[in-house]
């Protein structure tokens, strides 16, 4: 490219605007896409589990199909997040990369601990306690990870979402299993979708 020291003030402004738009397109992870993907997992996945237990008296467990639906939706969400993030983080190092690693390690460690606890208590606690660990546990973990992400990145929407998810998960301790699923689906998934809409709105105004 030929260097143009003689470019006019207007040309410089146009070059700067163009470079700014390009950089935003290249490096910004679409927060609305990430929140929407996880919101749908909670809303549809947990919603399906809730529908499968709604008529159970007494409560037994969600149907195999609805549990499988949660895993399939979660796999799609992980794939969507990886696709969205891959381009934005390629070649970017430094503080953001260390922050991403910390968040990922926190989430993976928390999930591992949750799996170990689920396995350990599965035969020795009441159905309601087990339902709390199985259904509200992942939501509590997601909330705590968002709080960690918010503290590391001074991100207000993540702080609001993390705080809300923790609150919703803790409130499930007072609920019956079917109500837990409905609460996680609506208050958890709904919060993700609400934050996605808010972030999209903020992005439109900023753009």
């Amino acid at each position: 490219m030929v260097e143009d020291q003689d470019m006019s003030v207007r040309e410089a402004a146009a070059v700067m605007q163009d470079a700014r738009i390009r950089a935003r397109h290249e490096f910004v992870i679409s927060a609305p896409a990430v929140y929407t993907a996880w919101g749908l997992v909670w809303l549809l996945g947990y919603g399906a589990m809730w529908l499968s237990v709604r008529g159970q008296h007494p409560y037994r467990s969600p149907s195999g199909v609805s549990i499988a639906a949660v895993f399939v939706l979660a796999a799609f969400a992980v794939a969507a997040v990886l696709i969205v993030a891959h381009r934005a983080v390629a070649g970017v190092g430094g503080r953001s990369a260390r922050r991403r690693t910390t968040i990922l390690v926190t989430w993976a460690t928390g999930y591992l601990i949750l799996l170990v606890v689920q396995t350990a208590i599965s035969g020795s606690v009441s159905v309601r306690t087990l339902a709390f660990v199985d259904f509200a546990g992942p939501l509590l973990l997601a909330g705590l990870v968002y709080l960690v992400a918010a503290v590391l990145g001074a991100n207000r929407p993540a702080l609001a979402l993390g705080g809300w998810l923790v609150l919703v998960a803790v409130s499930c301790a007072w609920l019956a299993p079917a109500a837990m699923l409905a609460t996680c689906a609506l208050a958890g998934g709904g919060a993700f979708l609400l934050i996605a809409a808010a972030e999209a709105r903020i992005g439109r105004h900023a753009g």
């Binding site: 490219m1 020291q5 700014r20």
Partner: protein, 107 residues
């Protein structure tokens, strides 16, 4: 002409301006690999190196090499001084555009 506008001549060039704006889009404390910067800007390695050298001499960017051989990575980041210089450049540019607009509106 740069001297006439009073704009920073180190930044006031298409490629260097794009390099500075691209690096400024990253949060403070982040760096970008040379190859990604080259890909984003669509430049040849030689062209990018020559402009980075000018920016580095002015203290606006820093480059660092980690690792060796084919797996080595050269990273480029905007220095604090560079961020301040770009802010100044943008303020000067805005002022010039405003005064040009005001002059055009004058009867």
């Amino acid at each position: 002409m740069p001297a006439e506008h009073g704009l920073d001549p180190v930044i006031h060039g298409q490629v260097r301006l794009r390099v500075m704006v691209t690096l400024a889009a990253l949060p403070a404390g982040d760096d970008l690999s040379f190859t990604r910067l080259q890909e984003v800007l669509g430049l040849t390695p030689g062209n990018l190196i020559s402009h980075l050298r000018k920016l580095e001499e002015a203290g606006y960017v820093t480059t660092a090499r980690s690792g060796g051989g084919v797996t080595g990575r050269t990273s480029v980041s905007l220095s604090q001084q560079g961020r301040q210089a770009l802010d100044r450049y943008m303020a000067d540019l805005r002022e010039l555009l405003d005064s040009a607009g005001a002059a055009a509106r004058r009867p």
